[in-house]
């Protein structure tokens, strides 16, 4: 299929294809990080994860409208404000949900799945009632929608770079928080032995709530970032949920590093297959490979080896 192209063409395409794979990787990481915290550290299956992301997207929409209206001069910078507010909004909703729902269900992980599915229906309808059934258009600052021409042939989308930087930043932040901060130690302690953690004076209740809130907040930031590449409507969140869960499970639940590795392998596989196959078949094949590997290695790519 490549016989009629020059080497320069092919080189450029492969470079850009590699970049496309990396962008997809960053997108997957953003999608999965919040879930990895919640699912990996707390064992809660949050099927409303997509709706938390879309909340972040709606917040971004509101902020962009506000800036366009009242502070057009600062419009090019609004995105940073929006991401921060998205984190706060989704995080606050997360705290509320943890308090009202999740804390009653810690011993029943499969039930969290059902309850959060109900929650996702309610959130979807709330978005629909508040913002209307149509998608909202989030206008983005011009600088985010351009591309950097590296050579004559190779152009790199700026939003791709942005998403990548964001993914790296948030992963690092989450990593530092989990493995360097006091909160992280508490979370991991609770994850490993809840009773013992409580016995040594860790406030398990608040740590859980905070963990859930932070996971949701990260989802909000992801949603905010996705306004650059995806749509913002009441049901847009559903598009992400299966992929997200697969990434987290594929990575091995207890490991942030695993999530990142799994996002990387799935994104590369998908982006390479998409180049050679039709889009639908590429998706089917990617999912099949992931499910196949999970059947052979149910604990995921990375997992803690524990003495049972």
């Amino acid at each position: 299929m490549f016989s009629d192209y020059s080497w320069a063409d092919l080189g450029a395409i492969f470079a850009m294809q590699g970049f496309a794979g990396l962008t997809l990787f960053a997108v997957f990481v953003l999608m999965a990080l919040g879930l990895a915290i919640i699912f990996g550290q707390m064992g809660v299956i949050n099927l409303a994860h997509g709706e938390f992301m879309i909340l972040g997207a709606y917040v971004t929409y509101l902020v962009s409208t506000f800036f366009a209206e009242y502070m057009p001069a600062l419009f090019s910078l609004y995105f940073f404000v929006a991401m921060f507010l998205a984190f706060l909004a989704s995080g606050a909703l997360g705290l509320l949900v943890e308090w009202a729902l999740i804390r009653h269900l810690y011993k029943r992980p499969l039930d969290t799945l059902l309850a959060t599915w109900g929650l996702s229906l309610i959130l979807q309808q709330t978005y629909r009632s508040v913002f209307g059934a149509r998608e909202v258009g989030v206008s983005l600052p011009d600088w985010m929608m351009g591309s950097l021409p590296l050579t004559d042939l190779i152009e790199v989308p700026i939003n791709g770079i942005f998403v990548m930087i964001l993914a790296i930043g948030i992963s690092t932040a989450v990593y530092v928080m989990l493995f360097r901060s006091n909160w992280g130690r508490q979370v991991r302690a609770i994850n490993q032995n809840r009773d013992m953690a409580s016995a040594v004076g860790i406030n398990a209740e608040w740590t859980d709530r905070l963990t859930f809130g932070i996971g949701c907040g990260v989802a909000g930031v992801a949603g905010s970032a996705f306004t650059m590449i995806g749509s913002t409507g009441p049901t847009s969140g559903q598009l992400y949920i299966v992929d997200t869960f697969l990434i987290v499970v594929f990575g091995g639940t207890a490991s942030i590093l695993g999530t990142i590795a799994s996002a990387f392998s799935i994104s590369q596989a998908q982006s390479i297959m998409e180049f050679f196959l039709s889009g639908s078949m590429a998706k089917v094949l990617t999912l099949l490979v992931v499910v196949g590997i999970l059947m052979l290695r149910p604990q995921g790519l990375f997992s803690m080896k524990l003495r049972k």
């Binding site: 059934a133 929608m145 989308p157 650059m228 998409e274 889009g279 998706k283």
Partner: protein, 423 residues
């Protein structure tokens, strides 16, 4: 209701009433024409037990207002309600006010079938305005044929269908596609096309027709790629790279729903400036409604080929746009399907009045040949095959989310749901 004592033969008069529309004021969008209900005794105009009383007739509205398709179908519901309100303001149909029962198809095809059955069997509605996706239409079609209901279907669609129980107020695929391809080849000198679509029957059939036309009916043109992505797909970087590799003159895109937003944003971010027209982006799936979600600045310079744009400059349309905004809000936009949905109640009114009866069989018989001169898109006429004769237009997207009409077929294009040589 104004008094009009002289009883006339309904057919002629109403035809004239419909034809005589076209003034700029909302209330008189169609010439007010009052008919007294008692001139049409219920027993005579409704011999099949439909929901018709001495002063009201009930129809159904069946669209998704929840689920993934609500994004698209909301506009249709709004347009249909506007048309019903306007018709009622003019005195209704055969002196009867239109009531409607709205059901939610919930973006789920079995639910559509269930609700269609409910509307026809339980509520005995005289007609139904509804459906959007082909799948929902296919799901309700057997129900309509079995219970002899009458459906006005607003969406541009793939064709290959002609039901006695459906009036298709949107364009079928050849009507929409061929004019655009001819135009882009003739005016822009395009030779190579990259076909792209969401993975379901409408994009696939449309691209099939496009491919046949490009390969068999035009000179020196060819298809250099064809590609489908699952509904809801949001990652188009790989296909954009493939397109770069093929360097087509035209990206022929039939991406739908949320994928649209992702596709155009990523296209723009990848450095493909559509205003430079290299390649040209030509779509048949992006109406003004979709641009709201995409963002005008992200699709600036793309071309769309369909029968209606909100920016059409004629009196009918200006009145329609004003009325629509008055009813639903200043920030509303109107797309091709929304306008087609708006035609539904009017076409039905015209057919009922021509038939002098609400009976589905009589309305069906009266339907072919019904004309609306006052349609926002201009003049339309119902073909024997239940589709509409209509003009096809090409618009160029502007940053404000509107299309600038750059081309319009000289004549009405004949609907041809089973096109020879394209299958």
């Amino acid at each position: 209701m104004t008094d009009d004592t002289s009883k006339r033969k309904s057919g002629d008069v109403n035809r004239r009433a419909v034809l005589a529309g076209g003034t700029a004021l909302t209330a008189s969008l169609f010439l007010p024409k009052s008919v007294r209900a008692q001139d049409y005794p219920t027993a005579e105009i409704n011999t099949t037990g439909l929901a018709v009383t001495d002063d009201a007739v009930t129809i159904g509205i069946l669209h998704s207002i929840t689920g993934t398709m609500a994004i698209s179908e909301t506009g249709s519901v709004q347009a249909e309600k506007l048309a019903i309100e306007q018709i009622n303001a003019q005195g209704g149909i055969l002196g009867r006010k239109i009531d409607y029962i709205q059901e939610d198809g919930a973006s789920d095809w079995p639910t559509f079938a269930e609700k269609a059955r409910k509307l026809l069997v339980n509520d005995k509605v005289a007609s139904v305005m509804g459906c959007w996706t082909s799948a929902s239409r296919k799901a309700v079609l057997p129900v309509f044929e079995q219970h002899n209901g009458f459906l006005y279907y607003p969406t541009f669609y793939e064709g290959l269908e002609q039901s006695p129980n459906v009036i298709y107020t949107g364009q079928e695929a050849t009507q929409q596609i061929i004019a655009g391809l001819n135009w882009v080849t003739r005016e822009k000198g395009a030779k190579t096309f990259y076909l792209l679509g969401s993975d379901y029957i409408w994009p696939r059939t449309s691209n099939k027709i496009a491919r046949k036309h490009i390969e068999n009916f035009m000179d020196g043109t060819s298809v250099v790629g064809e590609e489908y992505y699952p509904l809801g797909h949001t990652q188009f970087n790989s296909v954009i790279n493939k397109i770069r590799l093929r360097k087509p003159d035209v990206i022929y895109a039939i991406v739908v729903g949320g994928s649209n937003v992702a596709f155009y944003k990523q296209l723009k971010a990848a450095g493909i400036d559509m205003t430079e027209e290299s390649p040209i982006v030509l779509t048949i799936s992006v109406t003004e409604d979709e641009i709201r979600g995409i963002g005008g600045e992200n699709i600036d310079g793309a071309y769309a080929c369909m029968k209606y744009f909100q920016s059409l400059d004629n009196d009918n349309n200006i009145a329609f746009v004003d009325a629509f905004k008055e009813m639903w809000g200043e920030d509303m936009v109107i797309g091709d399907v929304t306008q087609a949905a708006y035609l539904g109640p009017w076409l039905w009114k015209a057919a009922v009045e021509a038939a002098g009866s609400f009976d589905v069989d009589k309305v069906r018989e009266a339907s072919p040949g019904i004309e609306l001169t006052s349609a926002p898109e201009g003049y339309v006429k119902v073909h024997e095959n239940h589709h509409l004769w209509s003009k096809t237009r090409v618009g160029r997207a502007k940053p404000d989310g509107q299309y600038e009409v750059v081309f319009e077929t000289a004549d009405l294009v004949e609907p041809d749901p089973f096109p020879e040589g394209y299958q």
